[in-house]
């Protein structure tokens, strides 16, 4: 167990370190001067002295006038204190605060979408492997869904259920005429706004899981242990039960591998629906060239994905006895 988690933790630490370093490197080694870029964007309606003062201020802020190793150390110092700088777009608010305000919305979309699609997709995939007609209809649907760009499915759902049928609102996280509060009215409004972005995430993921499960089950049904059970006359019920359980394991690993893609999917989906999660914040940061915010979100997404990966690792150890056995120092 220690070896397994030790390795995982080493990978994650290294990933975080490399990602943070990339995050630090990009603005410094891109061609062009980031401060100049910032200044030119603000327009030149101030006097040369004021411009000089402003540019000095930014050089200081970025720490660009210090030796490079000092800059790097400062960066880590700030990072470890949770200081990701201040956001221009959010009127000088600390980047951490801006992100934290958006996170609940993103999680409210992601967590139910991931868990429900994983559950439903696996159940459906297992069912499809058993019934020919379901397999023949589900397989093409699954492939179409998994090949659909997240944002486009979002646009289509917004157009059909929002614009045309007027069943659900398709912009913002809650009605602009409401104030966030613990009232039934606000809650139902929140759910109505949540529905379409959730659905588009759910559907695309569902297709992927269902196909994955179907393929895994077929593979497991051909495995030696399945053939042995059949040779000893075990009923299909038992053979399928074993195959299903074992096919679940790669699906858990698959979840970890897919997290990056899923998070990317939620980012673009939020943009479609102007859903005020991290994705929309990122979009605004890009549009307003708010680099502190942009880099902060990047780091935040990495940390989130790493944490989720770690959760999946723990779940895997609970479900797959082989990992535990290896950890006990068995003959693995």
């Amino acid at each position: 167990m220690r070896r397994y988690f030790g390795r995982k933790l080493l990978t994650y630490t290294l990933t975080l370190f490399i990602a943070a370093t990339i995050d630090w490197l990009i603005p410094r080694f891109m061609p062009g001067d980031p401060v100049y870029g910032l200044m030119s964007r603000m327009g030149n309606n101030s006097s040369p002295e004021a411009a000089k003062a402003l540019s000095d201020y930014y050089y200081n802020l970025f720490g660009l006038n210090q030796p490079i190793w000092q800059q790097y150390l400062n960066f880590w110092g700030g990072l470890l204190h949770g200081d990701l700088g201040r956001s221009v777009f959010e009127h000088g608010q600390p980047v951490t605060d801006a992100i934290m305000a958006a996170v609940p919305y993103t999680l409210a979309l992601l967590i139910p979408a991931i868990l429900l699609s994983w559950w439903a997709g696996n159940s459906f995939g297992a069912l499809a492997a058993r019934r020919k007609w379901l397999d023949n209809t589900m397989l093409p649907v699954g492939y179409i869904l998994t090949a659909t760009p997240y944002m486009w499915l979002g646009i289509v759902l917004a157009f059909v259920f929002g614009f045309t049928l007027k069943m659900f609102p398709f912009a913002n996280s809650y009605g602009l005429n409401l104030e966030p509060s613990f009232t039934w009215l606000f809650f139902t409004d929140l759910v109505a706004h949540w529905m379409l972005p959730f659905l588009s995430l759910f559907l695309v993921m569902f297709g992927g899981w269902a196909i994955g499960m179907r393929n895994m089950i077929i593979y497991e049904l051909d495995a030696d242990y399945s053939r042995y059970l059949e040779a000893l006359g075990a009923p299909q019920r038992l053979v399928r039960k074993y195959a299903f359980r074992n096919a679940m394991l790669p699906q858990i690993t698959g979840l970890a591998l897919q997290l990056g893609v899923i998070v990317a999917g939620s980012l673009v989906t939020e943009i479609v629906f102007s859903y005020q999660g991290v994705g929309l914040l990122l979009f605004n940061a890009i549009k307003s060239e708010d680099y502190f915010l942009l880099q902060g979100i990047f780091l935040f997404v990495i940390v989130g994905v790493l944490a989720a990966n770690f959760l999946v690792d723990i779940a895997y150890v609970i479900v797959d006895p082989r990992t535990r056995v290896g950890m006990r120092g068995g003959t693995a």
């Binding site: 990602a19 990339i22 062009g32 492939y143 990317a264 060239e289």
Partner: protein
Amino acid sequence: MSSVIASEPKAEQAPQSPGAAAAVPTPKPRGEFLYFALRSRKFLIASTILLILVGIAVLGPIIDSTNPNAQDGLMNQGPSLKAGYWMGSTSFGEDVFSQFANGLRATFFVGLLGGGLAALVGMAIGFTAGYRGGWIDEILNMVTNVFLVIPTLALLIVIASYLQRSWPEARGILFEAIFVGLTSWPWAARAIRAQTFTLRSRDFIDLAKLSGRRGWKIILQEIAPNMSSYLFMTFILLFGGAILIAASLDFIGLGPTNGMSLGLMMYNSLNYGAALFLGLWWWFIPPGIGIMATVGALYVMNVGLDEIFNPKLREI
């Protein structure tokens, strides 16, 4: 794309089905491929769809040479043959068909180049790690795992948003394809490494080693040809993946500034054209269908090829 990982072909497994293997004379490989390919419904449907899409991408801009970015036509025209916009026009008066055909071109370009580049990097790392083993494998494996966890799109967003200010010339489709390719190789490297591992201990590799051939020659002459079908299928999946990533990037507004792409069409329709609120469906529906059809056909083709190459999956 989870299906992608899960459906990685389990090809080239050592044990054949008992008994029959030795006695069955296998037809010539090429003949066999054609025989199964022409009987695989999945393969045939997918390649037909792909051919049609390639046709539109190649011929479309030639037949209809309207500049996709020319804002000089009628605005907000629905699809009709009369007005001369058979796929409609945007709220800036651009021709949707011209945008679609040019965008499809860009999509295939990004897929081919990005997917190809990712396949090359994946092969270089996967072969080296799987063939050499030892500490080289440990290090490459660690690097692969690190890049497997970093969300590709997030990384690309940061890079692209800096580029758009400091080096605008790099915001072309060529650079986009290169960046996508350089960030989407990790799972391919891992899969190829695993395959190489199983091949490494086979007799014919030992024989090649004994005859004193160089490592990279053995990889190129013995290992790669033995898993060529697997490599081709990996490329197909990378092809589809690159298209999806590039589309997301375009949709965020970080795509090429000087051309047209399907993702950019969606971006423009939503952010500048308010197409969703005006109901200009002919503007945002086609690009999504283009991507979906291309990537879906690639995925289905992959499954079809899997059944063609892997006798265990064939239905007789």
